[in-house]
């Protein structure tokens, strides 16, 4: 899967309308989220999506701003909520393309309940987590994925070791699990495109460095540590996915690419009636019969 140069030119054009102009973007210079933004535009273009059919649901934090920097419908709710809103949107209108764009704190701390159950429910929603290990917008407090790669000879309740989103997703039953790096937008775009084509809940953990508050997990640190998933890995095998994660863990590395992909059979779903002509003049008899 590759993106053509001509398409790239039109990508910026279509996806920059109805959005905050680039000079007003409020991310720090060097923020990893720029890479995610570029990769998203590439992926949308690659899939030939039409902006009005896309709904971007942002999380709270720097990452959530991305919905305003792209064309398409955008919604921004409460902290931890993106996946639950997305669930409702998809249940009401399965035709919409829903992409949730959230941070690691939003998804794995306050929103972990919604994350775990999204893995189980498997709505046709793409989740891209911009994982930087810190709460950037509130000036750098540690998130659940914080401390990645640091040595924890001892730990405390206040500062537990980081946990692995990929293992959590796998354990919770997610059907598409991948990892990408915003320092490599071209590869990330390919992963996103695959995620958006997945007929179920697709989770992409994107390492997106915070250059202001996380001085440890830098671009160079990730480049050194991230390795592509081996070409012979079978992503449709759950056992292979667990083994792959264990193997990377043993070697102190993290995988880049699709770790697991195995769609679940789902019932066909129709759009919920929304317009007066679909709602009026219904027959109440089936309900009333039960009360005789």
């Amino acid at each position: 899967m590759s993106v053509q140069p001509a398409a790239r030119a039109s990508a910026s054009k279509v996806w920059e309308e109805n959005a905050v102009p680039r000079h007003r973007i409020q991310w720090c210079p060097g923020c990893g989220d720029y890479g995610v933004l570029n990769a998203l535009k590439l992926a949308f273009t690659r899939l030939e999506l039409v902006p009005h059919e896309v709904l971007l649901i942002g999380g709270i934090g720097c990452s959530g701003q991305i919905r305003n920097y792209l064309n398409g419908n955008g919604f921004h709710g409460t902290h931890g909520g993106p996946l639950a809103y997305a669930l409702g949107v998809k249940m009401a209108n399965p035709d919409l393309r829903v992409v949730a764009l959230a941070g690691d704190g939003d998804t794995f701390a306050i929103g972990v309940e919604n994350f775990v159950h999204a893995c189980r429910r498997d709505p046709q929603v793409t989740l891209i987590v911009m994982d930087n290990g810190v709460y950037g917008l509130t000036t750098g407090q540690r998130s659940p994925t914080g401390g990645l790669g640091q040595d924890f000879p001892e730990f405390s309740e206040e500062e537990p070791p980081p946990f692995s989103p990929l293992r959590l997703a796998l354990a919770a039953g997610a059907t598409f699990i991948a990892q990408s790096f915003s320092g490599d937008p071209k590869h990330a775009a390919e992963v996103y495109a695959q995620a958006m084509e997945h007929p179920g809940f697709a989770f992409v953990n994107d390492f997106s460095p915070c250059v202001t508050y996380n001085k440890f997990n830098t671009y160079d640190w990730f480049r050194e540590r991230l390795q592509p998933v081996p070409a012979d890995h079978d992503p449709t095998s759950l056992e292979a996915a667990w083994e792959l994660l264990a193997d990377f863990r043993r070697r102190g590395r993290s995988p880049l690419g699709v770790v697991y992909r195995n769609p679940r059979r789902r019932k066909a779903q129709r759009r919920v009636p929304m317009w007066p002509q679909e709602l009026e003049g219904i027959d109440l008899e089936p309900m009333l019969r039960a009360f005789r």
Partner: protein, 623 residues
């Protein structure tokens, strides 16, 4: 029967089948054209073992309210020993409710483990019928479950009702769907055995009858027997609700079950969230995608949803929130009634948002007012709170089927089409005179929206510029002025308030206040009743002119502080007196009548209705 009969069925929760007996009797009486009202279903928040009772009022004409706690027929289904009184089986129902049994009433009890000393009751003229229902079921019919049908048969004999088993047979055949004829026959045999026992007692004691008699009446149209929650559910679906989300909680779970059962047939979807927040978030998602959406919960669940109310207000997403109030605080008494969430509904959340609070006062209004709730949510793009309470949610009542013939016209205010967009362009939060901005649903060609709970400009982009913030805040809150001008409804007024004491209520207490009014009139005291259904934004301009004419305002509420009374004082600057009850039981007409006398004649400002503890079991000396 003097037009009105109250039967109270009591027993051990889950074991004795109190619910089954009441359901069968209620349904059959309704089919026979009688008006049934079961307004006070008393159960505990345990599955098994607690004392449960369910009073059932059967009338020839629709009753005004459930009246007093006095009963005509007491049915005690406990068959074995009360652990507190091993020598006195079957005492719990009799101990708790014997005092409410009217002189000359009837006691029917399960005598499977022996008879009960009932001299005290008999001295008051009560006719006692020991019925070994469990023994008959277990030993003669070999199926313990049919003991309830033995009781139903006995009860019908006492009431000289359905002697040819016409109604009972029809109900049983439907219930077993003609698949198990032997089950139908077994149940009918059980009913006949119950009847035979009563006949024997009547013969032995030489009583010709017990003085109660139910007669089927012909009605111009069929009556339905359903709960307030059922009526609300029908109304919601008729009003276009196609997405419902809830999380199990008493007493809102039946709404979730109703929607699970019926929404799919109308193309809608119902979701049991993994928690309260997932529920409302999914509903908000469905709503912004264009579906008419509703969530339901009770106090503790509403508390958990509070953050999302703020979002719905700020991002201007329509949502109907049903709060089936129960007794708080915290998890309080999950199965007992209270009206203490008014203050929460009008103010829950940080900051200020436009919101509308409605409270139905009867089962019929659960059906009609919920339609208004959906209309208002759509029109004003804000949360609409629908405050029912446990009493309203669980009341079961016979209503004519024509109640459900209301037609609705579904208006989707301010939704732009592709043509509108081409002509006018689109800003999601356009500053308008009315405060209501045009909107689109995602997927509409020609435009996209940007919506956010963060403060935003007209296009939906984040901003904290003071003038933009101020304009947006004022735009949102202007909706409330528009609402007060166009859609606020004044109170329902019964009688002329001028110069008289006025009883003011909200929610499920209205029927009781109306019956209290009749009773006070019979005693020579004329009062008026004012019921407020549209509670927020408070329609001061409609309420104050009505209330200020009164000689004294008596606000009757089931909470500790008098939340509506405070609201009236705050908004109308009128002093109020209060009758308050918060022990978990419903108001009885006598509570109100007594309270009014105390206030009007003795000048008491605040009456707190209390109830005596159940009579303690006498312990033997030395224990």
């Amino acid at each position: 029967m003097a037009g009105r009969l109250k039967v109270l069925v009591g027993g051990v929760q889950l074991r004795d089948g109190v619910g089954t007996v009441v359901d069968v009797v209620g349904r059959i009486a309704t089919r026979a054209g009688l008006h049934v009202l079961a307004n006070e279903r008393n159960y505990a928040s345990t599955i098994y073992g607690a004392h449960q009772f369910d009073p059932l009022l059967i009338c020839e004409e629709p009753p005004l309210s459930h009246g007093d706690d006095q009963v005509d027929i007491l049915v005690a289904l406990e068959f074995d020993s009360n652990p507190d009184a091993p020598q006195q089986p079957n005492r719990d129902t009799i101990l708790r409710h014997g005092a409410h049994l009217r002189d000359g009433g009837v006691l029917l009890y399960d005598a499977s483990t022996g008879t009960v000393p009932t001299e005290a009751l008999e001295a008051r003229g009560v006719r006692v019928f020991p019925l070994p229902a469990r023994h008959i079921a277990l030993r003669e019919l070999k199926r313990e479950v049919v003991k309830n049908m033995v009781v139903v048969g006995a009860l019908f004999r006492l009431l000289e009702f359905d002697m040819d088993q016409h109604y009972l047979r029809a109900l049983l055949e439907e219930r077993f769907a003609r698949k198990a004829q032997d089950l139908v026959d077994l149940n009918l045999r059980a009913a006949l055995r119950g009847r035979a026992v009563v006949e024997e007692v009547l013969r032995e004691r030489g009583w010709p009858s017990v003085g109660y008699r139910l007669e089927p009446r012909s009605t111009s149209e069929p009556l339905l027997f359903l709960s307030g929650t059922d009526a609300l559910g029908v109304g919601a679906i008729q009003a276009g609700c196609r997405f419902y989300a809830g999380y199990p909680i008493t007493p809102a779970s039946p709404l979730l079950e109703f929607m699970d059962r019926y929404l799919p047939a109308y193309g809608g979807r119902s979701l049991q969230g993994q928690n309260e927040r997932e529920s409302i978030r999914a509903a908000l998602g469905a709503s912004l995608a264009g579906a008419r959406a509703m969530v339901g919960s009770s106090g503790p669940g509403i508390s958990l949803k509070v953050e999302e109310f703020g979002l719905a207000g700020a991002a201007e997403i329509p949502i109907v929130v049903v709060d089936s109030q129960r007794a708080g605080p915290s998890t309080g008494m999950p199965t007992k009634t209270e009206q203490a969430d008014l203050r929460m509904a009008i103010s829950a959340g940080h900051g200020e948002i436009p919101r509308i609070v409605l409270a139905p006062s009867t089962l019929e209004e659960c059906y009609t007012l919920i339609m208004d709730a959906f209309h208002l949510a759509d029109k004003y793009q804000c949360p609409v709170f629908f405050l029912t309470d446990l009493t309203l949610a669980e009341v079961r009542k016979s209503v004519p089927q024509s109640l459900f013939r209301e037609t609705v016209r579904i208006v989707r205010e301010g939704v732009l089409t592709e043509e509108d967009l081409r002509r006018d362009g689109f800003r999601r939060f356009r500053l308008t005179e009315s405060g209501i901005s045009p909107r689109i649903f995602p997927g509409t060609p020609g435009a996209v929206f940007k919506m956010s709970g963060t403060e935003h400009d007209e296009s939906g982009f984040v901003t904290t510029d003071p003038p933009r913030r101020q304009a947006m805040m004022e735009k949102r809150m202007r909706k409330m002025e528009t609402y007060l001008r166009e859609d606020a409804r004044g109170p329902q007024v019964y009688g002329d308030p001028a110069g008289r004491p006025v009883l003011v209520g909200w929610g499920s207490t209205k029927p009781v206040l109306l019956e209290a009014r009749e009773r006070l009139r019979a005693e020579g005291l004329e009062v008026a009743v004012v019921q407020i259904t549209h509670l927020w934004p408070f329609p001061t301009h409609l309420v104050k002119p009505v209330l200020q004419a009164a000689s004294v305002l008596i606000v009757c509420e089931q909470n500790y502080s008098g939340q509506l009374a405070d609201l009236i004082q705050e908004r109308c600057l009128l002093p109020t007196r209060r009758i308050l009850k918060y022990n978990g039981r419903v108001f009885y007409v006598s509570d109100i009548v007594r309270g009014v006398h105390q206030i009007v004649r003795q000048g008491i400002g605040e009456v707190r209705v209390a109830e005596a503890l159940p009579v303690p079991v006498e312990a033997h000396e030395g224990e």
